[in-house]
C-alpha cells in the first residue's frame, strides 16, 4: 500500500469513525457530567449590536445547509428517483440552495466572527474554543462554497457522478462499509471540505455547539405545568 492510499484510508476510512465516535460518546459524557456547561454561551448580554441580523442569517443558513447535506447525501438515491427528482435536477437544486443558504451563513458568520474578534467586551469573554470553532466553521463553509463552481462545471456538462459518488461514500460510512477509495477521483476541494466537516464533528462535544442537541423545540408541545415528584430516581 502506498502512502497516498494509506492516508486516504486513515483520513476517509478511519477518521470519520473517530470523529463520529467522539461526537456521540463525547456529547453523551458531557451531557451526563457537565450539565452546567451545556449551554449556548450567548454573548447577547455583552453586546446586542448586529446580533439580531447576524445570528439569524447564520443560524438559518447553517441549519438549512445541514438539512441540505442530509437530504442530498444521506437519503438513499432511490428515494429521490422515486420522488421523480432526476440526478441533474437534484444537483441543480443543491447548487442553488447551497449558494443561497451558504451566502446567508457566510454573511452572518462573518459578522459574528468580526464581532467576536473585535468587540472588546465579547472578545474579553471569549474562550479559545469559541474562536476556534467559529473559525473552523467559517473555513469549512468557505471551502463548501468553493465547491459550487466545480459542481456547476459538472452540472453544465450534465455529469452528476461526483455528487453520486460522494453520496455513496457517505452512505458507505453510515452503513459501516467505508469506501475511501471512492474519493480518489473527486476534486481535492471536496476532500478538504469533508475533512474539515468531520473535524467539526470531532470538536463538537468540546465546544458550545452542544447546544444544537438541546434546541428547545419541546416547548412547542409540552404540558403547561410539569410536577417533578419527590421520589428519588437514583441515589446521589
Amino acid at each position: 500500500m502506498n502512502l497516498q492510499d494509506f492516508l486516504m484510508n486513515v483520513v476517509f476510512g478511519v477518521y470519520p469513525y473517530v470523529a463520529l465516535t467522539v461526537f456521540i460518546v463525547g456529547s453523551w459524557i458531557r451531557y451526563d457530567n457537565e450539565q452546567y456547561t451545556w449551554k449556548t454561551d450567548s454573548s447577547l448580554l455583552l453586546s446586542k449590536r448586529y446580533m439580531l441580523l447576524a445570528s439569524n442569517l447564520f443560524h438559518i443558513g447553517i441549519l438549512s445547509i445541514f438539512l441540505g447535506h442530509f437530504a442530498g447525501l444521506v437519503l438513499p438515491h432511490g428515494f429521490w428517483i422515486a420522488l421523480g427528482v432526476s440526478d441533474m435536477a437534484h444537483q441543480w437544486l443543491a447548487i442553488v440552495a447551497g449558494s443561497v443558504f451558504g451566502t446567508m451563513c457566510l454573511v452572518g458568520g462573518t459578522i459574528l466572527w468580526l464581532r467576536r474578534v473585535f468587540n472588546p467586551r465579547v472578545r474579553a469573554a471569549s474562550r479559545y474554543m469559541d474562536n476556534a470553532i467559529l473559525s473552523l466553521i467559517m473555513v469549512t463553509l468557505v471551502l463548501g462554497l468553493s465547491t459550487i463552481p466545480v459542481s456547476i462545471g459538472h452540472a453544465s456538462h450534465g455529469d452528476p457522478t461526483v455528487m453520486l459518488t460522494l453520496s455513496q461514500y457517505i452512505q458507505g460510512i453510515l452503513t459501516l462499509n467505508p469506501q475511501p477509495q471512492l474519493l480518489a477521483g473527486v476534486e481535492p476541494i471536496f476532500r478538504a471540505h469533508m475533512f474539515l466537516g468531520m473535524t467539526i464533528f470531532l470538536l463538537f462535544p468540546f465546544s458550545r455547539l452542544v447546544h444544537v442537541w438541546t434546541a428547545p423545540f419541546n416547548y412547542l408541545g409540552r404540558a403547561y405545568q410539569i410536577v417533578r415528584s419527590k421520589r428519588r430516581v437514583r441515589s446521589a
Partner: protein
C-alpha cells in the same frame, strides 16, 4: 442512570396527568437542585464586622466554604434589651452584605506593590554597593531621580515586589528622614480607631515609637462639632440609638437616619407608634423626611436661624412669660446662665454702650471669695439666698490642685452652704444699659444694642464695673422684649425686622414662620412635661459648614433652655462617623506607645493639610471681615494662616513639624551648649525662639526643611475621599497631575507666614498606602502594602449607636501575600530596628506639646486674655505661654522589641483618662499570664507579649474600664475623690466582669459604665450623653463646670461668637473663576452639597460591583428639575462641576427631590470607576472634593483655656467644605474623553491644566 438515557424514556416520562392534561407528573432526576443547596452550604461560620467608619457596628456571620468566604449574613444573637425597648437586631444593610465581594475582586491588593521607577532607582543604588539608607539618601539627593517617580504619581506603573525588600525601602526612608529632617517629618494618617482598633494602633504605635506624628481625623473630617468642646468640654458624647425610643419629641436635621443609620433607623420609626412627633428639617426631600409629621424645608446652611427663632419662642414662653420650675432649676444648676459677665464700655460708629467681656471670677473679689487655689479659674454667681456673689462648686478651678469640690451641687464652695443661683437681676437691678450684640446678616446692622439689667460692682482692683448674668444677656441676644425699652427687641413673633423672631427666621430659612413658632413651643412644652425628653438628632449635613459651631450652639441653646441634655430621651444626638472608641483608656497606651515613652506626637490634621497642601496660598477669606465691630482686634490684618501660627507658638495647637530644625539636632545642640536635663533643653530653645534662630515650622511651610517627607496612610482613603482640596493635595503635596484651575496668590499678604513666590510641588519623598483594595489613595502612593480584610484579621470594633463591643475575626487566613496591619507594622518595625541600630542609635528628641485639655495645663492662660510672647506681651514660658517642651529618649535600635511588648511605664506611671489616674499593676501581671511574655532577649524580655493580634485585643480590654470591672472600680474611685461624691453604684453590679476577645466572639457583650463617658449602662435608662453630669453632678469639663451658652475668650469675643449668633455661609469666591468657555455656555451656579451615600459607606462599597449595579454605575450628581430645564439638561447627561479649585465629572440625576440652587453629590465618589476626563482640566474627572478647598476658623484654634484647650481629635480647626459653590454645565457624550492613552513624555510634563503655572 444517565441524564442522557433519561432523556430517551419518551414513553415512560409522564407518570400522571392532572388539570385535564395541562399538567404532568414526572419522576425526573432532581440532583440538579443540589447546586442551589450547595450555594448556601458552608464549612464554618465566624463572627466579624466591617471596619468602615459606619456607626452601624453590626455583628455579621461570615460563612466559609473550601477555605474561601462565600457570603455573609446578619447576626441575630444580641443580648435582648429591657422589656419596654425594641431589640437592636437585625443589624446590617445592603452595603455590609456586599463586602465579601472585595476579598476576591479585581480591586484586591494581593502583593506588596511599588512604583516601578522608584524600584529601579533603588535597586540600581543598592547594586552599586550602597546600604539601604544610603541608597535612599542618594535618590533623594538627586532632584532628577526624585522627580522621575514623583511626577508619575497617580499614573499607574506599579510593580510587584516582596515583603523583605519593601520593608527595607520603607525603613530606609524613615531612617533617612529622621536623620536628615527630623522624626516629626514622618506623618501617619489613619482615622476612626473604633472601626478597627488594633489596626489603628499598629501604625500609631510604630510612629509614636520612632517619633512620627499621628494626624487627627475627626476634626479633619469636619465631623467634630467644635461646639461640643466649646459648650461641654467634651469631644462628643451622644445617646445610643435605642434612646431615640425614649424620646417624646424629635427634631431631625442633617442626619439621614434610614440611609446612614440604617440598622438603627427602626428606633425612630417605632417610637412614632408611641405618639412621638417627628419634625424633619432638610432642604431636599431626603429619606428621613418620609417619617416626619412636619417637614421644614430649610434653606441649606441656615439651620441656626431656625433654631435661634425656636429658642426665642421657648425662652420667651417658658422662662419669661412663665417660669417653668424644671427649666429654671436646670438652668441654675447645670448651665452657665447664672454666671456673671463683666461689661466693657464701647463707643463706635454703631453706637455707644457696653459689650459683654469676660466672666467675673473669684479673683476679682477681695479675698477671692475665700478661694486661694486657682481663684482666677472660679466663676461667680449671685446667690439669691444670701444676697451675695459666691463662687459655686464645680468650676475648673476646683478640678486641679484640690479635691472634693469639683461637683455640680448647688453650694457656695467657701462655706458649702446651699445656694440658689440667681438667673436674672431684673427685679433687683442696679440699672439698665444698652449692650451691643454682634450680628452678621447682610443688610442688617453689625452690632445690635439691646437693653440689659445690670448690677454695679467694685472689684478688688478698685475698678468699678457693671455685671450682668449670662441669662440676662442671652435673653437680650435673642431679641426678646422684656419691657426694658431700647431697640432691636420684638414684642411679637411677627416682627420680621428683629433678628431671631420666627418671622425674621422665615425670611432667612424659607421655612414658614408659623411652623418655626409652633415647633419651638411644642419642643419646649414637651420637655417641660416630660422633664427633658425632647431630642434633636443632627449630623454632618449641618456640621460641615464653616460656621458649624454656630449652628450647633443654636441647637444646644434650645436644648439647655429646655433641660434636655443629660435626660434619657432628650438632648442632642449628633451622628457622624464611628467615633466612640469605647475601651479608649485601655487602647491609648498601646496605640501611642505610652507604655514606653510619653508624650507622643499628635497633630491636628486640618492645620497640617492647610499648610502642607498650600491651600492657605489660595485663601479668599479675609479674617478681618469675620470680626465683629466691637472687636479688640489685636490681630487685625492677620490672615487665617497667621492666626494658626500664633496658635502654634502660644501652645494652643500642635504643629508637625514643630520647628524649622531637626528636633534631634536641637537637643544635641542644647546639650552641647550645656543643657543637662529637660529644663535645660527647654531653656536653650526658649532663647533660640526669642532670638529668632528657631521658629515654628508653619511660619514658613514652603521651605524644604519644613515639608512633611514620609506619609503613611492606612485604614483610610485620604486622597480619594477626605482630601478636601483634593487637587491641592495632588499639586503641592504629591507633585502629581492636578486640576487646580487658578494660579494662587489670594493668600498672600500674610504677616506671620512667609510668602514664597514659587510654591513647591511634590513635598513628599515617600507615600505608603496600606489597604486591601486599590482606591485613589493607593493610586497616588509610591508603595502599596496588601492588608487583611475585615474577614481576615482579629480586631475590635465599637460604635456610638449601641453599647456592645464587637470583634473582627479571622474567618479565613489573609489572602495572597496580605497580612493584618499589626503584623505589617511589626515587620516594618523589625527591619527599621535592624537598620536604625547602625544609622541612628539612641537619640534624644524634643516634643512640643500644646496645653492639653483634661490636664492641669488647661489652666495655662487665665481670664481668656491672649498674651503673645512674640509681641513682647509676656515671657515665653513652656507650658504657660509656649508649648511644653518634653525631651523623649528614642532607642531606635530597640523599636521592634518595644513594639511587641507592653512596656514598663504601665506599672511605673499607671494609666489615665480624662484627667483621672489609676494604677495598672494588677492588670499588667494578669496580662503576663493571659498573653504570655516576650521570649526575645533584650529590653522587653519577660513583659506581656503584644506579638499576636489577639494578644493586643486582650491587652486593650484588660486595661480598659469599659471591659474590665476592676479597672472601672479604680477609675471611678479616682473620680469620686475629685468630685467628693460616691459614684461606685454606677458599675457595682459588674465589678467582677472581665470581657475577653473569646467572649465577644461568642456573643456581643455590653460594656461596663466608665468615667470616660458621660452616659451609663443600666437596666433602667439607655445610654445618653451628659447623664452623669446631671444625675451624678459630675461637672462638664468646662471653665464654669456647666454647659456654656457664653464663651468669654478674647478671640471668641473678637469674632463675635461670645453668644451664638446666626452666621450665613461664607463666600469662597471659587465659582467666580471658571474658564470663559464654560461661562459662555448655559450653566448653573449651585451650592455644592455632599451628604453621605446610599450605596456606599464613604468610599467603600461604592466601587463594588454589587453596589454599582444598584444605581448609575459611576459618579452622579442630583440637580433639580427646574434648574436642569433651564440649561437643557436631561437625566443621565454627563455634567462637569467646576470652579477655581478644579473640576469633577458625573452623570446628572434630574429629580424633584432637590430644590433649585443645589447640586447634591453623594460624598466619597472617587475616581476609580467610570470617571472620564474633565474637558476643562484635561485630567481625570476628579472626586467630590476636586471642587472644594478648606478654610480654617480662628476661634477653633484657641487653646490653653479650660475647655478651649487642645486634645487629639478634641479641639482644633475643622476641615469644612460645604460653603463651596460650583458652576455646573452639560458635557456632550461626544466630548467625553476616557484618557485611555499611553503615558507620553508630553503628558508627564503637563502636570497642571494647560495654561496654569506657565507664568
Amino acid at each position: 442512570m444517565s441524564h442522557f438515557l433519561d432523556r430517551l424514556k419518551f414513553f415512560d416520562k409522564v407518570k400522571d396527568t392532572f388539570a385535564d392534561g395541562h399538567g404532568i407528573v414526572t419522576h425526573e432526576d432532581r440532583n440538579w437542585e443540589d447546586a442551589y443547596r450547595n450555594r448556601w452550604r458552608h464549612d464554618k461560620v465566624v463572627r466579624s464586622t466591617h471596619g468602615v467608619n459606619c456607626t452601624g457596628g453590626c455583628s455579621w456571620k461570615i460563612f466559609v466554604k473550601n477555605g474561601l468566604v462565600s457570603f455573609e449574613m446578619q447576626q441575630t444573637d444580641y443580648p435582648r434589651t429591657r422589656e419596654d425597648l425594641p431589640n437592636h437586631e437585625p443589624r446590617g444593610c445592603q452595603r455590609g452584605a456586599s463586602f465579601s465581594w472585595y476579598l476576591y475582586s479585581p480591586h484586591r491588593i494581593k502583593h506588596p506593590m511599588i512604583r516601578g521607577r522608584l524600584l529601579e532607582l533603588y535597586r540600581a543604588e543598592r547594586k552599586a554597593g550602597k546600604d539601604p539608607v544610603e541608597a535612599w539618601a542618594a535618590i533623594q539627593a538627586d532632584p532628577a531621580k526624585r522627580d522621575k517617580y514623583v511626577k508619575v504619581r497617580g499614573l499607574g506603573g506599579f510593580v510587584r515586589t516582596h515583603w523583605e525588600e519593601i520593608n527595607e525601602i520603607i525603613a530606609a526612608a524613615n531612617i533617612h528622614t529622621i536623620r536628615k529632617w527630623g522624626p516629626d517629618r514622618i506623618y501617619g494618617f489613619s482615622p476612626i480607631p473604633a472601626m478597627s482598633m488594633i489596626s489603628y494602633a499598629a501604625g500609631s504605635r510604630y510612629l509614636s515609637l520612632i517619633g512620627g506624628a499621628c494626624g487627627s481625623f475627626y476634626d479633619w473630617y469636619c465631623d467634630l462639632p467644635a461646639a461640643s468642646p466649646q459648650t461641654w468640654g467634651e469631644q462628643t458624647d451622644v445617646p445610643e440609638a435605642a434612646d431615640w425610643y425614649n424620646s417624646t419629641y424629635l427634631i431631625i436635621t442633617g442626619a439621614n437616619l434610614p440611609m446612614t443609620r440604617t440598622p438603627d433607623a427602626h428606633f425612630a420609626t417605632e417610637v412614632r407608634y408611641k405618639g412621638t412627633k417627628i419634625v424633619s428639617m432638610a432642604p431636599d426631600y431626603a429619606e428621613y423626611v418620609k417619617f416626619a409629621d412636619l417637614w421644614m424645608p430649610v434653606r441649606q446652611g441656615t439651620d441656626a436661624a431656625a433654631f435661634l427663632a425656636m429658642g426665642h419662642v421657648a425662652l420667651k414662653e417658658f422662662h419669661l412669660q412663665r417660669q417653668d420650675p424644671y427649666f429654671q432649676e436646670y438652668a441654675r444648676k447645670y448651665t452657665d446662665l447664672p454666671m456673671q459677665v463683666i461689661l466693657r464700655p464701647f463707643k463706635g460708629t454703631e453706637g455707644d454702650g457696653f459689650v459683654p467681656d469676660r466672666n467675673l471670677r473669684a479673683a476679682d473679689f477681695d479675698g477671692g471669695l475665700g478661694e486661694s487655689n486657682n481663684p482666677e479659674w472660679k466663676t461667680v454667681v449671685f446667690d439669691a439666698r444670701s444676697g451675695a456673689f459666691v463662687a459655686p462648686n464645680g468650676s475648673v478651678g476646683f478640678r486641679w490642685g484640690e479635691e472634693g469640690k469639683w461637683n455640680l451641687l448647688p453650694k457656695n464652695a467657701a462655706t458649702q452652704d446651699e445656694i440658689e443661683a440667681e438667673l436674672s437681676c431684673i427685679d433687683r437691678r442696679d440699672g439698665i444699659v444698652p449692650v451691643g450684640f454682634p450680628h452678621f446678616q447682610p443688610g442688617e446692622p453689625g452690632l445690635l444694642f439691646r437693653n440689659v439689667p445690670v448690677r454695679r460692682l467694685k472689684l478688688a482692683s478698685g475698678e468699678e464695673v457693671l455685671v450682668a448674668s449670662v441669662f440676662d444677656l442671652q435673653v437680650a441676644q435673642y431679641g426678646i422684649d422684656r419691657g426694658l425699652g431700647g431697640g432691636n427687641v420684638a414684642a411679637s413673633y411677627d416682627d420680621a425686622s428683629v433678628a431671631y423672631t420666627p418671622a425674621w427666621a422665615a425670611k432667612v430659612t424659607g421655612v414658614k414662620a408659623a411652623d418655626i413658632e409652633r415647633t419651638g413651643r411644642e419642643f419646649a412644652d414637651n420637655a417641660a412635661k416630660t422633664r427633658g425628653k425632647s431630642m434633636v438628632i443632627m449630623g454632618a449635613a449641618i456640621n460641615h459648614w464653616y460656621h458649624n459651631d454656630m449652628a450647633y450652639r443654636s441647637i444646644m441653646n434650645l436644648l439647655h433652655m429646655c433641660g434636655c441634655v443629660g435626660q434619657t430621651g432628650g438632648g442632642w444626638a449628633h451622628y457622624v462617623g464611628q467615633e466612640k472608641l469605647r475601651p479608649q483608656a485601655g487602647w491609648a497606651p498601646i496605640a501611642f506607645a505610652l507604655d514606653w515613652q510619653r508624650p507622643p506626637r499628635h497633630q491636628n490634621s486640618t492645620s497640617f493639610w492647610y499648610f502642607h497642601t498650600d491651600q492657605w496660598r489660595y485663601e479668599t477669606i479675609d479674617a478681618d471681615a469675620l470680626m465683629q465691630p466691637a472687636a479688640k482686634g489685636k490681630y487685625k490684618g492677620y490672615r487665617l494662616a497667621d492666626y494658626n501660627v500664633v496658635a502654634t507658638r502660644l501652645g494652643w495647637l500642635p504643629s508637625a513639624p514643630h520647628f524649622n530644625r531637626n528636633p534631634l539636632e536641637i537637643v544635641a545642640e542644647a546639650e552641647e551648649a550645656g543643657a543637662h536635663d529637660e529644663a535645660g533643653v527647654a531653656q536653650y530653645m526658649v532663647e533660640q525662639l526669642k532670638s529668632g534662630k528657631l521658629d515654628v515650622a508653619f511660619a514658613d511651610p514652603d521651605a524644604e526643611e519644613n515639608w512633611p517627607r514620609n506619609l503613611f496612610v492606612w485604614r483610610a482613603n485620604l486622597i480619594g475621599t477626605s482630601a478636601k482640596g483634593h487637587e491641592y493635595f495632588l499639586k503641592h503635596l504629591l507633585g502629581a497631575q492636578n486640576g487646580v484651575l487658578q494660579e494662587g496668590g489670594d493668600g498672600a499678604g500674610t504677616k506671620e507666614v512667609k510668602w514664597r513666590d514659587e510654591a513647591p510641588a511634590g513635598k513628599l519623598d515617600l507615600m505608603v498606602d496600606i489597604n486591601f483594595r486599590l482606591n485613589s489613595t493607593g493610586a497616588y502612593s509610591d508603595i502599596i502594602l496588601p492588608t487583611a480584610t475585615w474577614y481576615e484579621k482579629n480586631d475590635l470594633n465599637t460604635t456610638d449607636m449601641h453599647p456592645f463591643i464587637h470583634p473582627l475575626s479571622e474567618a479565613v487566613t489573609p489572602g495572597w501575600e496580605s497580612k493584618s496591619d499589626w503584623q505589617i507594622f511589626k515587620s516594618i518595625a523589625k527591619k527599621f530596628s535592624e537598620l536604625a541600630d547602625k544609622h541612628l542609635g539612641v537619640r534624644k528628641d524634643v516634643v512640643a506639646l500644646p496645653m492639653q485639655h483634661d490636664s492641669p495645663f488647661e489652666l495655662a492662660q487665665p481670664l481668656g486674655q491672649v498674651r503673645d510672647w512674640k509681641k513682647g506681651e509676656c515671657e515665653p514660658v513652656p507650658g504657660k505661654t509656649l508649648p511644653l517642651l518634653k525631651v523623649v529618649e528614642r532607642d531606635y535600635g530597640n523599636t521592634y522589641r518595644k513594639f511587641i511588648a507592653l512596656g514598663p511605664l504601665m506599672t511605673k506611671i499607671g494609666n489615665n483618662v480624662k484627667g483621672l489616674d489609676w494604677n495598672t499593676e494588677q492588670e499588667y501581671e494578669e496580662l503576663k499570664k493571659c498573653n504570655y511574655t516576650v521570649k526575645l532577649p533584650g529590653v522587653s524580655y519577660g513583659m506581656p507579649s503584644l506579638e499576636e493580634d489577639i494578644s493586643v485585643c486582650d491587652a486593650v480590654m484588660r486595661l480598659a474600664p469599659e471591659t474590665n470591672g476592676e479597672v472601672a472600680h479604680k477609675s471611678w474611685s479616682a473620680l469620686s475623690r475629685k468630685t467628693g461624691i460616691d459614684h461606685h453604684h454606677l458599675y457595682a453590679g459588674r465589678h467582677e466582669d472581665k470581657i475577653t476577645f473569646r467572649d465577644i466572639q461568642a456573643q456581643p457583650r455590653k460594656i461596663i459604665t466608665a468615667p470616660t463617658w458621660s452616659g451609663i449602662e443600666s437596666e433602667t435608662v439607655s445610654y445618653t450623653a451628659g447623664y452623669t453630669n446631671i444625675h451624678e453632678h459630675i461637672p462638664f469639663r468646662t471653665l464654669t463646670g456647666r454647659a456654656h451658652f457664653y464663651q468669654d475668650h478674647e478671640w471668641f469675643l473678637d469674632f463675635g461668637e461670645g453668644f451664638c449668633a446666626y452666621r450665613p455661609p461664607v463666600d469662597l469666591k471659587a465659582h467666580e473663576l471658571v474658564p470663559a468657555k464654560v461661562r459662555a455656555k448655559p450653566h448653573l451656579t449651585l451650592s455644592w452639597i455632599t451628604p453621605h451615600s446610599k450605596w456606599g459607606i464613604h468610599s467603600s462599597y461604592q466601587d463594588n460591583l454589587r453596589m454599582l449595579q444598584l444605581f448609575r454605575g459611576g459618579p452622579y450628581v442630583w440637580v433639580s428639575e427646574d434648574d436642569a430645564q433651564a440649561i437643557g439638561l436631561k437625566d443621565n447627561d454627563w455634567v462637569e462641576a467646576i470652579n477655581a479649585n478644579g473640576a469633577t465629572m458625573a452623570r446628572a440625576v434630574v429629580s424633584q427631590r432637590v430644590p433649585r440652587g443645589m447640586a447634591l453629590m453623594y460624598h466619597a465618589q472617587e475616581k476609580n470607576v467610570n470617571v472620564p476626563g474633565s474637558p476643562s482640566t484635561g485630567k481625570r474627572g476628579g472626586i467630590l472634593n476636586s471642587v472644594t478647598r478648606i478654610v480654617v476658623k480662628p476661634t477653633n484654634m484657641v487653646g490653653g483655656y479650660a475647655q478651649l484647650a487642645y486634645g487629639f481629635n478634641y479641639y482644633g480647626t475643622v476641615g469644612c467644605q460645604r460653603d463651596e459653590v460650583v458652576v455646573l454645565h452639560k458635557v456632550e457624550d461626544r466630548d467625553i474623553d476616557w484618557l485611555e492613552r499611553p503615558l507620553t513624555d508630553e503628558r508627564e510634563q503637563q502636570r497642571n491644566p494647560v495654561g496654569i503655572g506657565v507664568k
